[in-house]
Amino acid sequence: MFGGGIVQATLAPALRIGDVAPDIPLIVVVLLALRRGSETGCLAGFAAGLLQDIATGGLIGVQALTKAVVGFGVGALGGRLRVTQPLVQVPGLLVLSVAEGLGRFFLLKLFRFPAPFTEVMTYVVLPQAVYNGFLGAAFVFALLTAESFRDRSS
């Protein structure tokens, strides 16, 4: 997770499509939470968010809080989701990204964040959510493929 926050600040710009960059730590937190449960998801989310806050020079604690909540929630509900299904992966990550974005926005609003809601949703949260959905699905697919190769070889 330590790397996740830094990777986001350092490498995510390279994956940018237009002005939209994926939230890699969020994807990692979701994957960890699905596999390891809510406690790991919560801690991972907190750590990743905190490091992201520090690495990006934002208000420290915002992403730590939102990602911790997302990690916890996904970990708690993970058993009921079939994440191998692309029909779940893409919309699931999209919804989670939107939820995280909404949480972040309202938290920041408490600290006088000036940008209007519609603009943030239209130009930041939703495009990133869509990107996260597809990138997360690709991650899951890559992980499952790697695991099936490993199982076959062992």
């Binding site: 790397g3 809510s38 520090i54 604690g61 970990g75 600290f111």
Partner: protein, 278 residues
Amino acid sequence: MNRRGLALLGAVVLVALLLLTLQSRGRSSQAADAVAVVTTPVQLVLSRVHRGAFGLWATYLDWKNVRAENQRLRDEIRGLRVDGLAVQETVDENRRLRRLLDLRARLPLGTLPAEVIAREWGGWVRSLTVNRGRGDKIARLTAVIAPEGLVGRVVEVRPGAAIVQVLTDPTSTVGAHAVRTRTSGIVEGDPRGGVRFKYMARDGSGITPGDVIVTSGLGGLFPRGIPIGRVTAIDDRGSALFHYAVLAPAVEFARVEEVLLLTGDTARDLAAHFPTDG
């Protein structure tokens, strides 16, 4: 959902809110500074790795582009070379035609320009086919010249074309004399593809390599004074009546592209209209 999990979530939320509250009160997080001491070097390393990887990618793309550009330029060069050859060909043709035109304008007799359209270069026959024939009122035995000198004579006239026997044809004979010594003789074609000047040794003892041989005008077929060739060697046959001089033909028969057919009065002396310097 177990209690420990909820407690953990609560603790995390509390810590986050505490951090936010502290910042909102103007206390810049010292913990953040401490973490930054660790994160900054890692960011630096990652940034370099990232830059290196992308640099490598950029280099690869550059290489790919350069390769494509190289191929494009090669194709362009190939095209330009072909164009250049075509231009050179046109320039050469232009030069040849100008020389032919100059000669035609200079000559005091009727001429008809013709283009060589075929060549027969076997050992038995050496001839050119030109694009003037019966329709152009070309007569058999018409003399054919180029700006450099004599080419030969028409031996066959067909509709739209005529066959010209060149001087190197083994059956070709032309009355000639050496410009410097006035020695008369006959220029014959050589089966090996050369031309030789057969002369009486008694008259031609003074012929030396470099002498220019021109048509003599005897027989009325060829006008007098058209260059045939230059002596390159003397075949001394001792006390024999005839000796031979090997000639380098004035005209390069293998390369001649345009010729003039002499249609007018062939009894005139044309020596003044050709550069003989001999």
